[in-house]
């Protein structure tokens, strides 16, 4: 019985941890960045922050709605001097992208143009979305956002018009994405490039 409980606990923790991406590989860019934003919020911090959001204020009420299922929020955003000696390369993202090769990660959007790359992926557990990873890289800037626990894509609507696009994915139909951009695979179908 105890072994079974340990196994169940390990499965649960494993699932939770799977949605969280290790962003340590980006730490090396912090020293080279002109400006940086680093946010590490676990579930208790998100809850604490949510408790302080004022329902009476429109923007805060929208955020409260967006984060009601959020269990972790991790962000790294580095801006580099475009004329400086350091040039960010897409290969530098490899340690991050290697972590999303598992079958639970579904590519929602991938766009690569010249030296710019944008990726949005969703983590699914038993077919249900429960995590988001956004990677946006361009020569002078890199942003990686990992939101653990996002279950309803409509919640993203509070963050911008993008919610409309996300809503189409929730309905399991391919979003209207332009050529050169990969659309998400249907639920349960493993991503070819994962």
């Amino acid at each position: 019985m105890r072994k079974m409980m340990v196994a169940v606990w390990m499965m649960i923790t494993g699932t939770c941890l799977a949605q969280q991406i290790d962003l340590k590989s980006l730490d090396q860019f912090a020293a080279k960045a002109k400006s940086k934003t680093e946010i590490n919020m676990d579930e208790s911090m998100v809850k604490s922050a949510s408790d302080f959001l004022n329902q009476g204020k429109k923007d805060e009420a929208a955020v409260k709605q967006s984060v009601k299922d959020l269990k972790g929020f991790f962000l790294r955003s580095y801006e580099f001097d475009k004329n400086g000696p350091f040039k960010f390369r897409l290969e530098d993202l490899k340690p991050i992208l290697d972590q999303i090769k598992g079958p639970n990660w579904t590519s929602f959007l991938r766009n690569q143009e010249d030296d710019e790359q944008t990726e949005i992926l969703f983590h699914r557990t038993n077919g249900q979305i429960d995590g988001l990873l956004l990677v946006a890289a361009e020569p002078g800037e890199i942003t990686v956002i990992n939101a653990v626990g996002i279950t309803r894509l409509e919640d993203l609507s509070a963050l911008g018009e993008f919610g409309k696009l996300a809503g189409q994915s929730q309905n399991k139909s391919a979003p209207n994405v332009p050529p050169g951009t990969t659309a998400p695979k249907p639920e349960g179908q493993k991503n070819d490039d994962n």
Binding site: V46, S48, A49, S50, F73, L109, A136, G160, L165
Partner: protein
């Protein structure tokens, strides 16, 4: 018997205590006891008040810290979501541009 001896004898002569002396002495001995009892209570009361004050202060400090941490976490979350929103809008703008370019190409 010289004068000194006479004076001593006179001084040490047994005398009866004035009436009510014993009661007064006993009453005096009781008084400090009563004052001590009250004094003891005040010490305990002061100690209890001090403990309550300390507990209250700790509570206030903890609440202030919780408030500060909560406000800080809220600010962090708001900044994070603002960046997320901005990035998602960038993505959508980029998609719209690509789509427009594709449409123009197909029209040509």
């Amino acid at each position: 018997m010289n004068q000194i001896e006479r004076d001593l004898r006179e001084a040490l002569r047994r005398r009866e205590a004035p009436p009510g002396f014993a009661e007064r002495v006993l009453a005096k001995t009781r008084q400090p006891e009563a004052r001590g009892h009250w004094g003891h209570s005040w010490v305990w009361l002061a100690a209890a008040a001090l403990v309550l004050l300390m507990i209250g202060s700790i509570g206030v400090v903890r609440e202030q810290r919780r408030q500060a941490e909560g406000e800080r976490a809220k600010e962090q979350l708001m900044v994070g979501l603002r960046i997320t929103g901005a990035k998602l809008r960038d993505v959508q703008d980029r998609l719209a541009t690509i789509q427009q370019r594709a449409l123009q190409r197909s029209e040509q």
